[in-house]
Symmetry: C2
Subunit: 897 residues, 2 copies
């Protein structure tokens, strides 16, 4: 086992480098790297992340040998700098900062000006010739040290920090407004108060021994790895706690020694838009903390050209150096001490989705990176930010945010609120923009959802019906906004002491999950305008970015990308966005349109096979029309049509009034209808009479659907349109189910091919969404020519979690880190992944060329797409708006191999 060093130096002598971020943390590794490439870095050393783990292993103590090495490193710095740590004439001062492998901005602690005490402060006065500066440093140090190392905090949430309180008192006494106006004498008095505070709170004097200060500071930084903020942050960003933080001990440079001093933060490009411009802010005569503290408003970096033209030019050059070296947009901190520039930190800058794309594309064009790097660097999800209409950020400030929920369908939507699908549709018909608000949605609400600008629910998670359909339709959706008390009968929402009435305007941001009272304006994305032909490509730089990334991605990926689409319109959108076929066309949504639902209900309420066939006969030509439309739209690309899947009770009304109305309309006895509705009710509909179980119980349904499909295929084939048809049997768990349905489908195909004389290219396959199916996938593959993994249901069954009910416990699971990701968002690797792998292997053992796809919502999730690539699937299928994300993620899966 290689034993790594405890401490790595940087500055005059540098033994770390950028590639060592796991050991040195991001900050330490990049300080070393900057030193290596000749950028002006104040010298210092990094105590490694391994020491952090050792610190915790040793019961939160720093071992003697490490402390010995630390002191040796201090000695080296003294020699280099010609200053002595703790010396009253020529004191060496340090900053002590955390620095983890992954950037965790603001989460952990920092101490500046370490090494000052009642004696060294005098040396600092002498050396700087600036008494006020020296005492300001000292009081800042005591304050930071008191807070971070000694744990002197406000008593409770309502109290003020005791140091801030003393500072306020000092300003009061000196009759000044801001800190910088305090004189050296004021500061000396303040320091005395600070020391008293420390004695009061800790029972001990503020330590005058500089090595005690350093020891305390290093331990405090290690401790801060496990403060509450840091833990929460790590959970959120899935950073393992065993990474640990490094500690960077660095010679102080001062931006606050006078007006030829400054400190700032900057980006090599604009992190919001990605534009190539020097971007940032700075403060003259300030220490780093002042920039972020918000007491003084920092100046835009452009002003520095006027204030300090030489340093400005140096910084512009630093930008070039950094980018050409790190080959990515950098976010850096600098300090100017007496007109001399020092670099204190650099890291890859966080950026918006748009920015990520623009930077990646332009860096390729600039020759800084290659296309592979560009593709890997764009978070796949970010491509979708180019597609959604958004709220104008300014208008957000003008209306009230009243609640928040899960951001389930990205984008922005405003409209009048309505509580039933029917009303939403009616008002939409009258030209109103509508937000459909439901406790939760069901397939009955589809038309209302279609009519609405956005969907808001108080219950249900990221995979609830509302969220699923919303994404499928590209609708804006906020779901599970639990704070909303929705009352259907009063047609009101109660929330805290606000009441929202039917018809009131609200706005929902499906990207952030916010809900606003009032109307915010939105605009469609440029990319969509170009794709739909309302904007010429040359007019849109965003479109150029989008198109470039997509072309590059398509050059790498091996996974096919299909879409989940139920109508010609959805299919068209998806094809515009690059889909190569339909992976899931749900036939049940078609049954909700116009008066079809009544035929459907007639079918469900039928007493005999004959009656059922009569009702089905009415549906057949309608379904046939739907399929013709889709085949025409798809022009020979594959179309996977799933046979009827949901339990029949989803098509029936459930409340007494609706049943009464329907019984009148269909001339069915009301009591009989009530009984039938009740008899179809299920304890666990998810595990009930649905999927192929319907087609097996009522083979006439499968026959009708197969007839509609094949007749439509024959018709469009005759009209010269190519058809590549795949018929999908849902929810098989037993090989005999597949055989049963396949026999019916092949039988109908034979009939219609012989009736029409048309050759129809088709396959019959199944959706794999029940664990048992994976165990007997070899047997199922005897009849199934393709598998499509229905990962939504497979997740529900494999994990025993109803996606409609998980909100009761999943939040707690995330809090406790029992689950790190939502299994309904990203495929659960262990269980669902294990089942998929098994099914792939067993399916291929029977039919080596079996087509394998995925059509759950996971088909649009980058992590899941990577898994699908690893399992060697043929394609993923996702909602139309996720197609670009999937294209990009599929390319990334190849490049990460």
């Amino acid at each position: 086992m290689e034993i790594s060093k405890d401490i790595y130096e940087f500055g005059r002598h540098t033994d770390g480098e950028a590639s060592m971020r796991a050991l040195l943390g991001g900050k330490g590794a990049n300080l070393a790297e900057m030193a290596r490439i000749g950028l002006p870095v104040p010298p210092g050393f990094t105590i490694t992340t391994e020491i952090c783990n050792r610190y915790y292993k040793d019961g939160n103590t720093l071992s003697q040998d490490i402390w010995g090495n630390t002191k040796a490193a201090v000695k080296n710095l003294e020699t280099q700098q010609g200053k002595i740590f703790g010396d009253r004439d020529n004191p060496l001062l340090f900053s002590v900062r955390s620095g983890a492998r992954e950037s965790m901005p603001g989460m952990m602690d920092t101490i500046l000006n370490l090494g000052l005490n009642d004696e060294t402060v005098l040396g600092q006065v002498k050396k700087s010739g600036n008494e006020r500066f020296a005492y300001d440093c000292y009081r800042r140090f005591i304050q930071m040290y008191g807070d971070v190392v000694l744990g002197v905090k406000a008593k409770d949430e309502n109290s003020k920090d005791p140091f801030e309180e003393a500072l306020d008192a000092a300003k009061e006494k000196a009759r000044v407004q801001v800190d910088t106006e305090l004189s050296a004498d004021n500061l000396k008095e303040l320091i005395a108060s600070y020391k008293k505070i420390i004695v009061e709170h800790t029972g001990k004097e503020f330590p005058q021994d500089v090595f005690e200060q350093l020891h305390g500071a290093i331990c405090a930084v290690f401790e801060s790895w496990n403060n509450e903020r840091a833990i929460v942050y790590r959970r959120k960003y899935r950073i393992p706690s065993e990474y640990g933080t490094a500690v960077n001990v660095q010679c102080m440079v001062f931006g606050n020694m006078g007006n030829n001093c400054a400190t700032g933060v900057a980006f090599t490009r604009n992190p919001a838009t990605g534009k190539k411009e020097f971007y940032g802010e700075y403060l003259i005569n300030a220490q780093g903390e002042d920039v972020v503290a918000g007491i003084r408003t920092p100046n835009p970096i452009a002003n520095l050209k006027r204030d300090m033209p030489v340093v400005y030019d140096q910084l512009v050059n630093v930008c070039k150096t950094l980018e050409s070296h790190f080959r990515d947009m950098q976010d850096f901190e600098f300090t100017i001490e007496n007109d001399k520039l020092y670099m204190l930190q650099t890291r890859n800058g966080k950026r918006t989705g748009l920015s990520a794309i623009r930077i990646a594309v332009e860096m390729v064009e600039e020759g800084l990176i290659d296309k592979k790097a560009a593709i890997q660097r764009i978070p796949a999800d970010s491509i979708s930010t180019l597609l959604v209409p958004i709220f104008d950020i300014k208008s957000k400030g003008q209306v009230r945010s009243i609640a928040s929920g899960l951001p389930a369908g990205p984008g922005a939507a405003s409209g009048s609120i309505y509580f039933s699908a029917k009303k939403a549709e009616e008002m939409h018909g009258k030209g109103e923009n509508v937000i459909l608000c439901r406790i939760e949605t069901s397939p009955e609400d589809i038309r209302g959802m279609l009519a609405a600008e956005g969907i808001l629910t108080s219950r249900g998670g990221v995979s609830s019906h509302a969220a699923l359909v919303a994404r499928q339709m590209g609708k804006v959706c906020v779901c599970g906004a639990g704070k909303l008390g929705i009352d259907y009968s009063l047609k009101k929402i109660f929330i805290d002491d606000t009441v929202i009435n039917e018809g009131d305007p609200i706005s929902i941001d499906g990207t952030t999950g916010e809900v606003f009272i009032g109307k915010l304006e939105t605009a469609p994305s440029e990319v969509n305008q170009v794709l739909q032909g309302s904007l010429i490509p040359e007019k849109s730089y965003t479109y150029r970015l989008f198109n470039t990334v997509m072309e590059w991605a398509d050059g790498y990926r091996r996974l096919g990308i299909r879409t989940n689409a139920d109508s010609p319109k959805q299919a068209r959108v998806a094809m515009q966005l690059g889909a190569e076929g339909i992976g899931l066309c749900r036939t049940e949504h078609m049954f909700f349109e116009n008066d079809r639902i009544d035929h459907m209900r007639e079918m469900i309420l039928a007493d005999s096979t004959a009656e059922r066939e009569t009702a089905l006969a009415k549906l057949e030509p309608l379904q046939r029309g739907d399929f013709e439309g889709i085949f025409k739209e798809m022009k020979g690309f594959p179309v996977t049509i799933r046979l009827l899947d949901p339990p029949l009770h989803e098509f029936l009304p459930h409340d007494a009034t609706a049943i009464e109305l329907l019984s009148q309309k269909l001339h069915v006895d009301q009591e009989k209808m009530k009984l039938r509705v009740a008899s179809l009710k299920e304890a666990n509909p998810m595990l009930g009479h649905r999927g192929c179980r319907l087609g097996i119980s009522y083979p006439e349904i499968t026959r009708m659907q197969a007839r509609s499909i094949f007749k439509a295929a024959a018709d469009v084939t005759q009209a010269g349109v190519k058809v590549d048809l795949e018929i999908m049997v849902p929810l098989t768990a037993f090989p005999a189910e597949m055989k049963n349905q396949t026999d019916i489908i092949h039988g109908v195909a034979k009939e219609i091919i012989s009736e029409t004389g048309m050759q129809i290219k088709y396959k019959v396959g199944t959706m794999i969404e029940i664990p048992r199916a994976c165990f007997c996938a070899d047997e199922i593959a005897k009849d199934a020519q393709f598998f499509s993994f229905g990962t939504n249901d497979l997740t529900q069954t494999c994990l025993g979690m109803s996606r409609d009910d998980v909100n009761g416990f999943l939040p707690k699971y995330f809090d406790l880190e029992i689950l790190k990701t939502n299994p309904f968002a990203s495929i659960d690797l262990v269980g669902v992944g294990g089942l998929i792998k098994m099914a792939c292997e067993r399916g291929r053992s029977t039919r080596p060329d079996i087509k394998l796809g995925i059509c759950g919502e996971h088909g649009g999730d980058p992590d899941s797409i990577k898994l699908c690539h690893q399992y060697g699937l043929t394609y993923v299928s996702c909602s139309p708006n996720r197609v670009p994300v999937a294209r990009l993620a599929a390319a990334q899966a190849v490049l990460s191999e």
Copy 2:
């Protein structure tokens, strides 16, 4: 590949034997065997079951070579018998009978007297000297042949068989009552009519060519393998269709040649009671078909001693020979032709459960078989027939059977019908015998179920709540009696045009599923009387049988047998029946007793952890008392206690009135309560907020339960009672869930062990009931010291089937043979079995000595027990009444290795 012969002879030359039943069918193999051991068998030959399969493979035709071999076999018989097939002077006649590997009585076709035609009948007249006899044979032959081979049947259900019609007309014309009174001339006329019928129905003459007759008959027997009755029978008894049937062509002997002729069926022991007695019936001057036709009432076999004493003695000897040779009770057919005995068939006799046990035990005592054979020969389920109270068969005839459902809780129960648990309990309290009738039951009904003699539901299958709890409690239960129209508001059952009112007496037979109007009397089983001490063992032969079988079984089995018991009383019953511990003690049932439900509801409705803890504190001492009782009862045998499992809404009332009442009782705002009830409602409660998800969301519940358990354990330990405790965490799917709950439990254990100073032996483990858990069983086993497979839920999740909803499609699945067994009754080998196997392997990889058990309802199912044995589980746990079945099945699993 060995090519077997097509045709096997028996009689003078015999080349088959009993062990060849797969090839020769049961009848053919045993005819050969009887011939071998010197019993008088009319000679013949068997065409093998393989030829049957070949027949179907060749498109329902008999190949030339087989037909050639058949003719050669006929030639051999002619030589042996000195008769010629089709000869007008000395005709050889045959019977042609089916004979499958497994006995399928009455399902397939038989043709007697084959070889008669207009000419050979004259030879038969001459040889028998009995014209009437010869023509009667001929008309019987034409009738059978017309029906079986030529397919002459009644036009529809309302018409009469044309041959029967002609026979009736002939009797009318001759003015006689029964067939035997028809004269030879009458019969000749009848034969003419029969021939006309054949021409009318088939357009062809009745075949006079005897070889054509034989060819047709052989084909018809093969065809009958796939007639509807046979298919239904095979489905029911799980006989694979590829077994095929053999055809036995045998020289005719005649029981109808006169009064020194007879035919009969007999058993070597009484098939109903198992008593060792010659048992059967016969008819003088009759052919085999007459015995079963029911026109003449057969005589008890004892009478034959008077009628034909020599043959009777021969038969008694035949019984001895058969039993000493076949070493099992035989069911045989015989014919006496002119005082000479012929054996036409023998097979192992079907028998009742009681009979199976008695015969097996007595045969061991007689030295006929050894204990191993005895154990293997008793269907494990049959042992339970010794335990259930039963209806007096006579009284069944006196009341009306009005409906039937699934026989879910075996036994017999009568009482007044009530439609709510509350009312059932109230009337039970007043001393009434009560039948609780519900559409379906829920945990809220427990106390009513407890109070009831029997439970009747109109919905739900063999694994529904009603069935499960009923079996657990040993209650009689008929469930899913769909014909019952239960109206709670009117408190009536509507069924056809009968109305049953609340309080009316009904009786339900949980062994057959029948429902009767009126009251039938029952008695407890003798075995139970002995076990409970109300009958001394010496007084009960049944008990001696029971005890003998159990002792033998315990000598062989390696699986431990535990029980699912929630109360000391259930535990006691199970221990009496031989349980070796509790494998599943459900704590939730305890919450329904007395006013506990209110504390529970208070806990559920609590707004804060503090409020919840207050309510839990009230429950703690009560739970502690429960556990003390169980520990005391179990005296150191292991007790597995499962933590709270069901979703909380199961504890709350759901209808408005009940909510109102409860809100008054608990002083909780009614609206708040309504909201809470609504918020706990789940779309798929089976996959919802339950199991360890509760204990994780509300750790105070786990803490309270752990405290109750450990305090109870400490108390009884102090009192000198041994405790072997296993705490079971339900529904884990993620290792971190297990870790979370285990930490809480160990923490509480540590506290209480240190508080009380008592050493408590305990393990913490988990119930494996989610597919994902099987995939990460190695990780879960790091914290889990044992696994108990919850195969009910594992079946639901693995197969995607809600046990409460499967009745919507499972019956159809059985009809279509998509499923051959109910996966809720016997473990699904492919899926659930695959998961169990995986979990065992992975669990052992982490913890080689991990305790593995099963506590689903499958724990009492013999096929599932065999699987559990094969997987190497430590024990199975089942409801108390299934313990003897499990003991026996576990022994059988060893013996079948």
